[in-house]
Point group: C3
């Protein structure tokens, strides 16, 4: 990841920080954990997706274990969330927004890193999605909840869109900062529209309720 | 996996498809998920065991990320299960049968691949079992259930038998399609007998109920 | 792990055995599992932390898959726990003590192995902690509980202390059996003090109860 353009690196680090914040806040809300648990959960959320990606493409030790900045930002996000947990509780919307930033950036970076390592189109797209949703999935498993990616509000689909755009741009040899930003922006916009309108992907035919839900979670 | 005999490859692909179907159906029954969740869970069930095996033996990226047929069949199984979830709900027995096919084939293929990669007898057997039960275990964790392999009806033992036969045949230099089919058939028969008679492995001495259960789950 | 000094190897094997025992006993208490489930859970607890460590540092197949003694001791611990589950139930304190031994030894061995593989100070410390708490975390996820490491009684912190001492000793070139034992002993003492006094790390400001809990779990 050393040769990343500065803006992409900045977004990647931002994504790590906000996922750390978000994971720790989720921990505070969902269940009674001590400071170690809260910070650990923040770090798992922030670093988990990238670690799974790196293990799957054979890039071990994972990048986040080799660059102290990821580690520090994930840790910092967790600590801040712990300290301010009462106040941040009221900041639901900013946190949702920042989470969408993380989702978008991680999908792009995951897909492009997988392509760099020689994976084909389909696998690279899949790894983009895994990078984006992996950390949150670990977080949810740890606190005993059905992972968000399985149950709500167009969470995986925007990541999929970003990964497809990224891999397409790479295939057409037009990948660069503008393409990466366009891919991330697409994910971000779709995700925020989903949150705003409470949209969900279709449910199975026999299911109790379908489509819209009363309020975004 | 390129040099697999056609019948074994066909069984492996069949196993992938039925595990995708089975994982997605489990998702539909167990909890309310949208189409993304149902298909994702189907794919995790179908591909999870092989991915864990490949990560553990150092064969990354995992085989299923490099051969689009696995991916397509897992996805197809998930989509079909989603679309037909109402009708398939009544097909419990065929699905149990197909699940046993997947279990059997994956145990054989997992054990033989681990042996190819130079693992000893014990580890190769263990990896056969992990390949067979890994996907279903991920599925159960994701929907918040105690994994089937831990709790019921001779699920791990038939896989263990198949893996032992496979590794023994390899050791005796008589491994080939007949041995592979014999190993898979042993697993299949034991598993189906377990389901039919509602057999369980012994429970701990102090446990409330032991042995038989009223009905197969 | 071939060049380990005999005492350290003995402790590592002891840790594996007691984690197998402990994981299986937890299984017996927490939920109704058959013998396969109980032993499987014991083995996951005993071997899980080391497997995660080895996957993350790229040492695959994992060490525990290549040395039958780890495997045998994990299995033996699980079987013994299953057979004696009624009686061992009353031996809560010895089991807590043995669990602390496993935690201590695994933290030291995990951190030193990660350093051997060229990881920096921070990552090596982190891998020591992951090795120590990984198996128990898998165990808790499998039986549907919030992992111990997230919720109680100074579990991760003593492992962190042991890993820091280990990596520091390696950095100062004074690592050897005495340093390893000192690191493990520090972890053990802190952990046992935490258990004895029912100490917990601080909880978030807004949390219902803070600090002490009535009784050690």
């Amino acid at each position: 990841m050393s040769a990343q353009p500065p803006l992409l690196l900045a977004l990647d680090l931002t994504g790590t920080f906000v996922f750390g914040l978000n994971g720790a806040l989720t921990a505070v809300r969902a269940t009674r954990l001590d400071v170690v648990g809260v910070v650990t959960l923040g770090m798992m959320t922030a670093l988990g997706g990238g670690v799974i990606r790196d293990v799957l493409i054979g890039s071990v030790p994972p990048a986040t274990f080799q660059d102290w900045r990821y580690f520090a930002l994930a840790f910092g996000g967790g600590i801040i969330a712990f300290a301010l947990s009462r106040r941040l509780d009221r900041l639901e919307m900013p946190i949702t927004v920042l989470d969408a930033v993380g989702l978008s950036v991680f999908a792009v970076i995951g897909a492009s890193k997988a392509s760099e390592y020689g994976l084909g189109v389909g696998p690279a797209v899949l790894l983009g999605v895994i990078t984006a949703v992996g950390g949150g999935t670990i977080r949810d498993l740890m606190i005993g909840q059905i992972p968000t990616v399985l149950r709500s509000e167009l969470y995986a689909i925007p990541a999929l869109v970003a990964a497809v755009i990224t891999v397409s741009a790479l295939g057409l040899d037009v990948y660069g900062l503008p393409a990466a930003l366009a891919a991330a922006a697409s994910c971000f916009v779709i995700r925020m529209l989903g949150v705003h309108f409470g949209l969900n992907a279709p449910r199975p035919p026999g299911s109790a309720d379908t489509g819209r839900e009363g309020q975004p979670r």
